[in-house]
Symmetry: C2
Subunit: 398 residues, 2 copies
């Protein structure tokens, strides 16, 4: 694949875009935390299942840093199964026979929602770094506008892992009357210094790539794939536990009997990481990576609520299921306990489950049957309470 | 500082080099693990204290990845105190009133010992990637040749942390009759998949920099500073504990009252990391970084000894003090326990101490009084046993 001229991974125009897109902010702009307003901006989203007549069975799924709206169907670029295919579908924990699932590409993303790689109508050029720096709250504001567009007053549930979990917390804190149940998974109320540090390494790797061109790579017919690939590699190490890497790769060599005394990928783990980096750049935009990591670094529930996370949830009617994984060192269980303790401090309805896995942060994406069973139980119990009719298999598994 | 033309951080020629250098391998080449022989190669080293008449008080210190021979004196480039100034000097734990301390720049390094940035006499050009890929054992072979040159038959002790600790293990395993006491600190018998992964991220960052020029940057009048800086930033995160980063920086902002909604270093931790990256490139060579990380990844005591670490030390006369730090997540205490258990399995003379610190892997370089006290005690006790005369303060502190 040639580097120059290869300005975008997106093969579609408005007519061929594989999924739903809607223009929002026609009447009222989206007011961003930075002070700017966004008008007439596109949000891309997918849905699964059927909205009931009373519009009470909607579940909003919030995706993580490099996820997108293709939750439970083949990805239009990679052809791989949807990123939460294990979780979402008929008879699955988020049962599309019972629920109507919505997932939109986040603000600042690169799968059809407005972001730095989209054209700025005022200039006719890609926004690039002129795109306003957005926050997790801004992402949720765009999701609220999508919900208004779909004329859904209240979500039955909102769920998501990692940076998606931050959006879940923001939904519950800022729109408590529009959410019945919330499941923040493998997430945190703010980034630690170490979290920011790893993101900063990735951002610097992108910005150090001469093909980044100060962010103007699209106009220059270039693409900072090498920098983005390094960013992905560094981040990927944080998504897996040490044990997962060790049991998956250990010190095993890649297609060779002995070390080669060179700088090729002698070790399987090197080959794996290089592959992770090089395939990622075919489906993700470098500037989007800057914007979304920045939004995650800026997220700080205490700071947004007068210094107290608990104050974000005072008198909340939302019922919560907080979930963590013991092998997650990116957002360890201690971070979920902060959420749980804050919710308990305001007598919120909260359950908490930590699951034993060896996979690390990525556990929320993987086959962890106990997690899926508990999650199914939480949703079905809440749905019964909410008065959503059962379907054939709603009582299964718990 | 201009990038092009800025081919080297070294300001010295043979006449102005700040320290000792010796040409080794004049008669007998150094036989490298890769199969090549090195002849007439330079090793740079520093010494502290005075060799006694019987030549029995020598302590070899082995430096870590980015360390060098300037252990206990101002660094000739940065002007900062020596990297183990807390440990080495008159009256200090490695007491230069009692011991004669030697530290040489490792093979493949960039502070005067032969490495990829030195001129290959056969071509008249820098070695670059034509320099043979070296191993930890090769580094130690060069140190042995230096010892022969100094006409020292046996070391009283060998000590070092991190990759220096690997060299200590290699000394004890391969030259048991030339070492009385060995202190491997904050180290491991081999890299885990995660260790290799982080090193590989750094190497890829260097090799992705167009100024790397396939390794030939010196000939091209360029210097891959951006890539090397990214590598340093990624590695630096692994040298500190999460707690250290959190207490040192947390989410505090850098010289500003509020986030700027941009990509400047809003957070102190970002500013710190950028500084770590940008200052590192003034004192280190990118190809050296590739070679030394590779040597560390290749190091595997079990693999070198028929699958058993214990077999590396069978019947060893060496007495060991193995040291780890509870906050070190790069080479956690469990890695030191593997060393201790292997030594116990062959009934070696071994003591083991884990120190509680919050600093992470870098603890071995920092002010950890209990570590220094115990280390002083180990050395002094061994020295008494070895028959080295006491000096005024040898009995202190324990």
């Amino acid at each position: 694949m040639s580097k120059s001229g290869d300005t975008s991974f997106r093969q579609w125009d408005a007519d061929t875009f594989p999924g739903h897109r809607v223009v929002l902010g026609r009447d009222e702009p989206l007011r961003l935390d930075c002070g700017t307003g966004l008008t007439n901006f596109t949000v891309a989203y997918q849905t699964y299942g059927k909205l009931n007549a009373a519009k009470t069975n909607a579940v909003m799924i919030c995706h993580a840093l490099t996820g997108d709206q293709f939750v439970a169907e083949p990805h239009p670029i990679t052809g791989k199964a949807g990123w939460w295919d294990l979780m979402v579908g008929p008879g699955k924990p988020i049962d599309t026979d019972r629920y109507f699932v919505i997932c939109s590409n986040v603000l600042g993303g690169c799968m059809g929602t407005i972001g730095p790689q989209e054209i700025n109508p005022e200039t006719g050029s890609p926004w690039a770094l002129n795109f306003p720096v957005i926050t997790i709250a801004d992402m949720v504001r765009a999701q609220v506008m999508l919900l208004d567009h779909l004329e859904i007053e209240r979500l039955f549930a909102v769920a998501g892992g990692s940076i998606g979990g931050m959006q879940v917390l923001e939904w519950a804190a800022s729109y408590p009357d529009r959410v019945f149940a919330a499941a923040p998974i493998a997430t945190t109320v703010h980034h630690s210094a170490q979290n920011i540090a790893f993101h900063e390494v990735g951002r610097q790797a992108i910005m150090a790539d001469p093909d980044w061109c100060g962010g103007e790579y699209q106009n220059e017919g270039r693409n900072p794939k090498r920098g983005l690939s390094i960013a992905r590699m560094a981040a990927h190490v944080t998504y897996l536990s040490e044990l997962a890497l060790q049991s998956k790769f250990g010190r095993r060599l890649q297609d060779r009997e002995a070390i080669t005394y060179g700088f090729e990928a002698d070790f399987q783990v090197e080959s794996y990481l290089r592959h992770q980096g090089s395939t990622f750049v075919d489906r993700f935009d470098a500037n989007s990576y800057l914007y979304i990591t920045r939004a995650a670094d800026y997220f700080d529930m205490a700071e947004q609520h007068g210094g107290s996370v608990a104050d974000a949830f005072r008198d909340t009617p939302v019922r919560f299921c907080v979930i963590s994984f013991n092998s997650d060192w990116l957002y360890p269980t201690a971070e979920s306990r902060v959420i749980v303790n804050s919710l308990n401090a305001v007598a919120a309805n909260v359950s908490f489950a930590e699951f034993e896995t060896s996979f690390g942060h990525d556990s929320f994406l993987l086959n962890v049957p106990e997690f899926h069973r508990v999650f199914r139980g939480f949703l079905n119990g809440a749905a019964d309470h909410y008065g959503l009719p059962r379907v054939g298999h709603s009582g299964d598994a718990l």
